[in-house]
């Protein structure tokens, strides 16, 4: 039994120490935003944020996460109150099948937290590790630029959340 802090809440998790975080998120905590794509850390569909950094949850055993803060897309915003990054992706209609989008948003979110005004080249370099097979890359790029602008305007900031 270990304690896993996800989206600001402590969860008691009964899993083998080498269980990938992705399985615990989806199966035990029913947080289904992060997707299983390749299971090999090659596609980025499973990207979540750990202590502010984008991490591939399919190759991250939970034993590494004692005392660390995990954030999934569910922790950023909701359908009713989307976070800027989510609003931007909706406004740019950046999804086609949508399977990669949660991972794209999480990696973009980590980038924007570190660098609020990334250049096109910085966004491309950052998202290089996340694959999209539908071909919505240009919209994804526009969405990240839009999120960058949204985050700089007060009205777009997400509703205050109790993030400990």
């Amino acid at each position: 039994m270990m304690t896993l802090k996800v989206n600001g809440q402590d969860h008691q998790v009964d899993a083998d120490p080498d269980t990938p975080l992705l399985y615990v998120l989806r199966e035990d905590l029913k947080l289904n935003a992060a997707k299983f794509g390749c299971g090999l850390g090659q596609c980025g569909a499973c990207t979540v944020i750990v202590d502010g950094k984008a991490v591939l949850s399919c190759v991250t055993p939970v034993m590494l996460l004692e005392g660390r803060k995990v954030t999934t897309l569910e922790g950023l915003g909701s359908v009713e109150a989307p976070a800027p990054i989510q609003r931007a992706f909706i406004e740019e209609q950046a999804a086609q099948c949508g399977y990669c989008i949660a991972g794209m948003m999480m990696r973009a979110q980590a980038l924007l937290a570190r660098n609020s005004k990334p250049t096109e080249a910085e966004i491309r370099s950052e998202l290089q590790l996340n694959l999209c097979r539908c071909g919505t890359h240009m919209r994804i790029l526009r969405a990240v630029h839009r999120a960058s602008k949204l985050m700089q305007t007060a009205d777009a900031s997400p509703a205050p959340r109790s993030t400990p």
Partner: protein, 433 residues
């Protein structure tokens, strides 16, 4: 009282002679600025392009993502940081007003057009062996590149190394001029390989250890050195590669960047193999032929061990329950313990030279930063674990793997990982969120 005057004269003559001798060692004239030829023979330019690729010139003379050959790349040395120079044909900040003779002098003697001694981070101790014809082709290639205005960055060196006169002394001790002398007992291919390896390709600049004055230890040629906070493996009989190298394996690795028995060329070697993928195949074969001879014929024991490792790499290992083994099972095994052969899966780590090497840096660097896809090339990908694993966790993992594959334990893994995280910051920040 004639004697003091005589003594005085002798002293004066001695001082003057000393000064002249010192000047002869230190002073080099400027070579007049010229307007270079307006055009060059396209075949010569093409030949120069291939030679520049073999010389890996772009690697040091280009900042990642910036303009080709514009210099400014920091090169860490034990004496401080040296910044590479702008070798584009820009008239003011590059080599745009250099004559071919000035270029040749820089290659052969490490002196710039103004007569200043160049630091031997520019490996003229190797380039001095390049033929005049090849220098002419390199000059033609560089002078036809796009000029980039990029002033030199000031080196950050401690005294006395910030005095370029020191370099003149270094050259007296360590620079041996002379063109490559063919060995008539060897094949033409071997000789071609030797000419390239010892000269333009300057393999020893990284793969040979250096002495306290930063010169290659000639008696320890190719027995392993440093490159940009990576360990450059021993590539002679002291190689730690679990499976002995052959000329064919070397060719495949140098030409395509990976080999199923050895893995992927990364770190500073990535740029080398990227460059070698485009040069004439015969030159890569020649380098492989010569280097196979430098590695030497494996001993029966090395051969037997290599076969054992290859066989073991195809077996399913025992599951272990140490924390390091658990990390491996969850984070690494899905690629490194599968039946998918490289490049579709990671190599079985029984074959890893990084783990077999006495220096833990390369293994630490790779786990932290992973292997980025190379733009425009088919290349392997490995995610970096810098943001999911702590230094202690990576050390546990590496120590476990080191023992699992039968190597004596490293003693300082945690410290190496900590340093690797610090020294790889640039690539981590660029590559990883």
């Amino acid at each position: 009282m004639a004697s003091p005057r005589i003594i005085g004269s002798i002293v004066a003559i001695a001082v003057a002679a000393g000064a002249i001798a010192a000047a002869a060692i230190v002073w080099r004239p400027a070579i007049a600025a010229v307007d270079p030829p307006a055009s060059f023979d396209p075949a010569l330019v093409k030949h120069g392009r291939d030679l520049a690729a073999i010389g890996n010139c772009n690697d040091c003379h280009t900042v990642r993502g910036a303009k080709d050959f514009a210099g400014g790349l920091p090169v860490p040395t034990p004496f401080g940081t040296i910044y590479s120079s702008n070798i584009t044909p820009d008239a003011e900040t590059g080599i745009g007003r250099w004559s071919e003779a000035a270029f040749r002098r820089a290659m052969q003697s490490g002196v710039d057009r103004d007569g200043q001694h160049l630091y031997p981070t520019f490996p003229y101790d190797h380039f001095t062996h390049v033929t005049d014809d090849d220098d002419r082709a390199l000059y033609a290639y560089l002078m036809t590149q796009r000029p980039v205005r990029a002033p030199a960055r000031e080196n950050d060196l401690k005294f006395p190394f910030n005095q370029r006169v020191v370099v003149a002394g270094w050259k007296l001790l360590f620079l041996r001029h002379g063109s490559y002398q063919a060995d008539a007992t060897k094949s033409a291919e071997w000789n071609r390989g030797a000419y390239l390896v010892e000269g333009l390709a300057h393999c020893g600049a990284c793969h040979t250890p250096r002495n306290a004055l930063g010169a290659e230890k000639i008696q320890a040629s190719f027995s392993g050195g440093d490159a940009d906070n990576w360990h450059a493996y021993a590539i002679n009989s002291q190689s730690k590669a679990p499976v002995p190298w052959t000329a064919d394996a070397l060719f495949q690795y140098l030409r395509h960047g990976w080999h199923p028995d050895h893995g992927v060329a990364r770190g500073p070697m990535a740029e080398v193999v990227s460059n070698l993928s485009e040069v004439p195949e015969s030159d890569v074969r020649a380098i492989a032929t010569y280097m196979a001879d430098v590695f030497g014929v494996p001993t029966p024991e090395q051969k037997r061990r290599g076969e054992e490792v290859l066989a073991s790499s195809k077996q399913k290992p025992q599951a272990e329950s140490t924390p390091g083994a658990q990390i491996f099972a969850a984070a690494c095994a899905s690629c490194h313990e599968t039946s998918r052969a490289p490049p579709f899966g990671g190599i079985n780590l029984a074959l890893s030279t990084a783990l077999a090497s006495p220096d833990a840096r390369n293994a630490a660097n790779i786990v932290l930063a992973g292997i980025r896809p190379t733009a425009g090339e088919r290349s392997p990908i490995m995610p970096g674990f810098a943001d999911s694993m702590s230094d202690g966790q990576i050390a546990l993992l590496l120590d476990e793997l080191r023992i699992r594959f039968g190597h004596p334990p490293w003693t300082n893994t945690a410290a190496v990982v900590r340093d690797a995280r610090r020294t790889q910051t640039v690539s981590l920040e660029r590559d990883q969120p």
